[in-house]
Subunit: 589 residues, 2 copies
Amino acid sequence: MLRTHTAGSLRAAHIGQTVTLTGWVDRRRDHGGVAFIDLRDSSGIAQVVIRDEEVAHPLRSEFVLKVTGEVSERPEGNANENLPTGDIEVIATDVEVLNASAPLPFQVSTALDGQETVGEEARLKHRYLDLRRPGPAAALRLRSKANQVARRVLDEHEFVEIETPTLTRSTPEGARDFLVPARLNPGSWYALPQSPQLFKQLLMVGGMERYYQLARSYRDEDFRADRQPEFTQLDIEMSFVDQEDVIALGEQVVAELWKLIDVEIPTPIERITFADAMRLYGSDKPDLRFGNTIVELAEYFADTSFRVFQQEYVGSVVMPGGASLPRRQFDAWQDWAKSRGARGLAYVTFAEDGTLGGPVAKNLTDTERDGLAAITGAQPGDAVFFAAGKTNEARALLGAARVEIAHRTDQISDDDWAFVWVVDAPLFKPTGEDPEDVDLGNSAWTAVHHAFTSPKPEHLDTFDKDPESALSYAYDIVCNGVEMGGGSIRIHQRDVQERIFQVMGIGEEEAQEKFGFLLDAFAFGAPPHGGIAFGWDRVLQLLTKTDSIREVIAFPKSGNGYDPLTAAPAPITPEQRAEAGVDYEPEED
Amino acid sequence: MLRTHTAGSLRAAHIGQTVTLTGWVDRRRDHGGVAFIDLRDSSGIAQVVIRDEEVAHPLRSEFVLKVTGEVSERPEGNANENLPTGDIEVIATDVEVLNASAPLPFQVSTALDGQETVGEEARLKHRYLDLRRPGPAAALRLRSKANQVARRVLDEHEFVEIETPTLTRSTPEGARDFLVPARLNPGSWYALPQSPQLFKQLLMVGGMERYYQLARSYRDEDFRADRQPEFTQLDIEMSFVDQEDVIALGEQVVAELWKLIDVEIPTPIERITFADAMRLYGSDKPDLRFGNTIVELAEYFADTSFRVFQQEYVGSVVMPGGASLPRRQFDAWQDWAKSRGARGLAYVTFAEDGTLGGPVAKNLTDTERDGLAAITGAQPGDAVFFAAGKTNEARALLGAARVEIAHRTDQISDDDWAFVWVVDAPLFKPTGEDPEDVDLGNSAWTAVHHAFTSPKPEHLDTFDKDPESALSYAYDIVCNGVEMGGGSIRIHQRDVQERIFQVMGIGEEEAQEKFGFLLDAFAFGAPPHGGIAFGWDRVLQLLTKTDSIREVIAFPKSGNGYDPLTAAPAPITPEQRAEAGVDYEPEED
């Protein structure tokens, strides 16, 4: 090593020793012809004192130095209690500039403590400078620790880490595939996997029994949400298990991860059915850091003469203290609702004296008005928002309003953690609900999770006769309203898989062509199996309390999958195109 | 869990307990109306006794069972000492068929002990059955253990595990890139990385100091050799280090890995210069499991009248005991040499009485004949092979002959291990030497390792004036004649990098366009850094003593990158093609 010690490791015990440090000039101050340099390496900072003006003269921010000198006690009164190395300084006897630095596009000094705001484009373009800042560096280091923790748990349970192919055949996960032309098989293309789903199931058929992988996965989606074209899953699969086994393992992984940030998660983690999550929280990713659940009012308003509430669904959510909001704030809520595709957000205010206000109130009968506080749970001084219409849409609006209210009324602290398993989701949903879905078959029904999720045992006989009622043997884990992971018990019987394909409108021939290898595998003694995958970027975003998965990825893409650092993707040459066989035309007979 | 115990864990101590096992019917024997089933799971085998003929009747090989029964001592004389569970058997009281199995395309029973030979095509097509066989399963399990071991070493040294992008810009590693059309940036393509080279260097510039990753990498090469389009590297990079530091770490990783197979590797591992490796072994991947080095004879034959030996290079290698080979074997050696592109392989035999034989002998002078045994190291009874011509070609032929001789004369045992670092390789080689190279620039010189390898300190000033003599600050680790890994100290100074590009014929503009982000990064205080990458598949092939990297990959491709299991790659639909933007034409102004 070019150094004898790391900068951050020096203490009073080193006083009198001659050490060699390497690192970056984090900050420089000059005082009476002496240069004081904060020398930074990954371990921390040590103060270097350079008395030779000629030596000190050229040194600027982010120069890379190799400094030899004696560790000395700082003069009386100059110790820095905020710095682990604050009792000492290194009196330089030799300073070598290992590399210079041009003036920086933005400052990275730890002295700024991450306070300086830098635009994202600049950060990504100069990510190698951004990573010298304390926050971004800490996020990557925590990610590495999280990998260690997860592997330790899985090693204890004798999981086998197995890599699955990424140049493969399209796996039907419901999104668009990235494609790769196969030069040696002209006219044919590989697909990058959306998940290792089929391969991990094949590993179970192969008797590996316990598999895991931190698996790179790919989805060619529109990047409007906080998504990346490539992402990482902690992918786990087990044989001879039931839902309880996978959930128990998942909880152990999560509990150990949160210990990294000194949070003890009580286990077992709460569970909620999909139906209850939708009813009470208007979301399959309920945020349980706060209460304020949705109240269903269709029955209450069953005989109402107010046309707006004459709908299949009416529900409400309380806005604590909302009665005192100025009118323009309620107008802003209307805009908020409209931006989500709703017509608006009806509301009633409850004054401290119990009188009802807002435009809706006058449309209600006395009876409806009298019972409203009690049924909605509103206290004097609160407001209540209403949504009416189609059940799913109205619930989604109230669920979003509930979360928005919690943020605006400071009901959430940075240290709140609420975990929940969402279970008993429907097996199928009507085709076309999600515009991003790539539907596999040609049917009114498509899979909620994916085509390989087993129906719950009690629906095994009936799921194809009554797809609407069938529940899946699946479980999602949600933290603070964010889906961190999910999994299911899989189908392991060929006939069940074929019946699922039928419901989804995938004909026998198509099933054989696309998934014949899986159906064949099931015919040769496939064991019962199931698993779970954690969205690893999402998990790390939660652990680091950052606001985007881009903060926990070393080299993230910006919008539309563009990398400002390397300027990828980029045009290719005609030679590359020809060689890759992109335009191959089979010769005619 | 569906089971209470694993099959392989049962011992005499369990006698009397009621257990539930799950697993596969490995073998079935019937005796006096009783079925004896070897039930297999990943832990091993337990014998299950089914007395109910009706229950036992349908059970066939590879059926998946859940068996409940009492653990009993095997009757006197029936214990099986070869089986860890051989003292007991489970008397079934309940047998549930979890899944049936169709007749298998090939047998997988452990009873065959991997003796059955199965064609590779069948194995890959039914890889999920192949993995039930003891050998293939053990290879994947050892790979998982190797990952653990490597990570343990790196964790001890505080390395940070960081994932780098795989949808990226072409990285110039000297092979062809796989390309991915970018739908959201029509006309642009991502490249899959040939290694994380540039990103790991950027991480060093970013101050991460110690990085590692088990990194998936991609090369679109012709798969004539034992290669896969995607492969895995254990990729390591460190800042503020010298060659000695990286080599020491590399040796620790290797030593810990080989302990997995109970081999203690003496460290430090031997080193040899590239020049010596070529001179003595005719290879930059010398196999040191045996001696028998090449002898240079150009000086000895400086004045020879034998035209064949009037060349820039003459060398020899001994074939122990070769004097007694029949003529047709020497003819076969001629064919062997011709298949390698040589004209033939001259030879002389040394009879027990010292007389020389073979067609060459009569062309030599008495003096040349008299001294030949001494200078070539031949003993009575040996033969000596000669090669003469261009130095590189002749050495390569003798090097290959040396290895072939060792195999044919049984000089190598399965338990021999010989490790060596090859150091001081040339920095540049003439362009066009390797037909698989994709040369970056337009020059007579190209990089031996890659364009980011630093010259040795003593060549830093002169490498561009005298490219032929410049040595690289690089090191390859070779085991048993196989290159397992390699690395280098990198360039960290912009001006040095620019001079390297110049030698390689990469103009300033091209350098800026392709590698501007790296050159820019070097301008902002890049630290000295270096690293190493192990070809992880190759390491595992060595550790498992298998004869192909396909044996240590869960789902390998066969020739030409085809996967017989999933039939990838496959044609895409016109819709997919249109959506991916493959045929995008920019609109003209």
